[in-house]
């Protein structure tokens, strides 16, 4: 066994980078799709199915491109269906159970706000196909952000019950927000190659948008300096992910030789 670390190639880093983006979206989309038929009103059933469709659609496009970059004869489904818990690099934030409507909205707001700033910068990546994809998805992310932001305000400044429910959701989610800004050697190489973004550059903008929104919603901004979870970009997850993957992958894995597309 060797402890020597090999230096990452650009191709390897790009693959990891694409998979991190895709995993976030697949896992969050999968959670969102659990709302199907169970939303608080018909308009929200429609909106949540629509957002799940966008998120999983974005993930699919990213996986397709990852397969192309990897060049080992895989397709997009390989990454979604034939990797295990430790291979998934989505944020823990995305895999937490859907909770009540307020929890779903609070999470969607935090994530969409981050995606918005991230994609605003990624759209100028020095790779035409990647940048094109990001640009296309950015339009939908703007809608997700607007939708979630409006609901945060409505619930925060709605009734006493809705106020305390969504406050609790933000309090619970807060320690999962630290990971949004995690960066390692993969990010560094991608930034150097003009393919990735330095999230520290927009951290303050993101915080400001979050604080302004919570303030407008009459909510208390939780403590930024509290303990923050970490590890998801290296495949460390809560126990929730395994159950989700078991469900998501079972049919495909039971009959791997069958055509399912």
């Amino acid at each position: 066994m060797t402890t020597e670390t090999k230096e990452l190639t650009k191709k390897e880093a790009f693959l990891v980078y694409l998979l991190r983006l895709a995993d976030d979206r697949l896992i969050l989309g999968q959670r969102m799709s659990e709302w199907c038929g169970h939303g608080p009103q018909l308009e929200e059933d429609l909106a949540m199915a629509n957002m799940a469709l966008d998120l999983i659609g974005h993930a699919t496009a990213l996986y397709e491109y990852a397969a192309e970059i990897e060049d080992e004869g895989h397709d997009e489904d390989h990454f979604a269906y034939f990797r295990d818990d430790r291979d998934f690099t989505n944020l823990q934030l995305c895999e937490l159970p859907k909770g009540d409507f307020g929890f779903t909205i609070a999470r969607q707001f935090l994530f969409s706000a981050f995606s918005y700033f991230q994609y605003e910068r990624l759209k100028d990546a020095k790779d035409e196909q990647f940048a094109g994809m990001i640009n296309k998805h950015l339009k939908e992310i703007k809608y997700h952000l607007r939708h979630a932001r409006e609901w945060v305000i409505r619930l925060g400044d709605g009734t006493e019950e809705s106020h305390s429910r969504i406050q609790e959701s933000f309090d619970e989610l807060w320690m999962y927000t630290g990971e949004l800004f995690y960066m390692d050697e993969v990010d560094k190489l991608m930034i150097k190659e003009g393919l990735g973004v330095d999230s520290s550059q927009f951290k303050n903008e993101w915080k400001k948008l979050v604080e302004d929104t919570l303030t407008e919603a009459t909510l208390t901004v939780p403590d930024w300096d509290q303990f923050m979870m970490s590890g998801s970009r290296k495949g460390i997850h809560t126990e929730h992910l395994g159950h989700m993957l078991a469900q998501m992958q079972f049919l495909r894995r039971s009959y791997p030789d069958a055509e399912w597309k």
């Binding site: 697949l26 999968q30 799709s33 659990e34 199907c36 038929g37 169970h38 939303g39 608080p40 009103q41 018909l42 308009e43 929200e44 059933d45 429609l46 199915a49 629509n50 799940a52 469709l53 999983i56 659609g57 993930a59 699919t60 996986y63 997009e76 489904d77 979604a80 269906y81 009540d100 409507f101 307020g102 305000i153 409505r154 619930l155 400044d157 709605g158 009734t159 019950e161 809705s162 429910r165 989700m244 469900q247 998501m248 079972f250 049919l251 495909r252 009959y255 030789d257 069958a258 055509e259 399912w260 597309k261």
Partner: protein, 314 residues
């Protein structure tokens, strides 16, 4: 009593193929029949999200997951504009929803059957949406303007639903032995319930004559069912799936396919609430409604606050 002259005038408009619009005069009975039919149609779209939603998380490829999500999203949309169309008859969506969650209003019994395997999702797309299209294509020419227009829109999306279901079940029918078995099993379970979607035989359908007289419906249950069977027999044959009816036989004289007796006892059992999933469906929809109450209250409270603030400012 409604004025006979007005009734005659109304019937003359119907017979001339004119569309009736919300502000036009209409017999109270016409209005009631439409509310019943249209809201039942809307409730069915909503309940229909549940059996399909059952497989979104387990869909066997990303493509199929996206297709299924797009489909249930369409269904929520159909529900939404069917409720809006029903509201043109002077009744609130809230009241309609209450009627089916806590009252006597019905939804299509087909959704009280379970989606046990993924092939059931494909069979729903092909057979159930196929039947819905036959019905809705007719309703797109219905005499009530808003209902007719809602169905025109719905039909466009339903044909995509049917196409994807047929395409996938065809793939399974020519796939691995396990897929073939799953596909045939799904057809065996969904065939008869699909035929029942057209409702009881004309002789047992008390509303039919009136609905046809008013051109709310343009064809009888049995006519639509026959049209459907003729079409499905060909489609099944083309992909090598068997229709589970030993009495199915082409009738040279009529040019139609004769089919066996429909298990009406089962139909009425399910209508009365004894289908495998009746209780679950209602429980799930009631839970969604009740768990969502605090959200709807918050949205209303917020809207009131904003309105008040605006009024104060101006």
């Amino acid at each position: 009593m409604e004025n006979q002259e007005k009734l005659d005038e109304f019937q003359a408009r119907i017979d001339a193929g004119e569309k009736i619009e919300p502000k036009d005069w209409m017999p109270e009975r016409y209005r009631q029949q439409l509310i019943r039919m249209m809201s039942q149609h809307a409730h069915s779209e909503i309940v229909g999200m549940l059996p399909e939603g059952n497989w979104i998380e387990r869909a066997p490829s990303l493509k199929r997951k996206l297709v299924l999500l797009a489909k249930v999203q369409d269904e929520a949309g159909h529900g939404l504009y069917l409720y809006s169309a029903t509201e043109t008859l002077g009744i609130d969506r809230d009241e309609l929803v209450d009627q089916y969650l806590y009252g006597n209003a019905k939804y299509s019994s087909i959704f009280n059957y379970p989606t046990m395997t993924y092939a059931d999702i494909c069979a729903i797309g092909w057979l159930v949406d196929g039947a819905a299209i036959v019905n809705q294509t007719m309703l797109a020419r219905s005499s009530y303007g808003p209902y007719s227009r809602a169905n025109v829109r719905i039909c466009k999306e339903e044909s995509f639903h049917k196409k994807q279901g047929y395409e996938m079940i065809a793939k399974m029918a020519s796939g691995t032995p396990e897929q073939q078995k799953m596909a045939q099993d799904a057809v065996n379970r969904w065939w008869w319930p699909s035929l029942m979607m057209f409702g009881p035989h004309d002789s047992d359908s008390p509303n039919s004559a009136e609905l046809i007289k008013w051109q709310v419906k343009l064809k009888t249950n049995d006519e639509l069912r026959q049209h459907y069977v003729d079409r499905m027999v060909m489609e099944a044959e083309a992909i090598g799936l068997e229709i589970p009816d030993p009495d199915l036989k082409y009738n040279e004289e009529t040019g139609h396919w004769d089919f066996g007796d429909i298990p009406w006892d089962e139909f009425w059992d399910v209508v009365k609430g004894n289908g495998i999933m009746n209780r679950e469906r209602m429980k799930a929809r009631r839970a969604a409604h009740e768990n969502g109450e605090w959200v709807r209250e918050a949205a209303n409270a917020y809207a009131r606050k904003k309105k008040l603030q605006q009024e104060k400012a101006s």
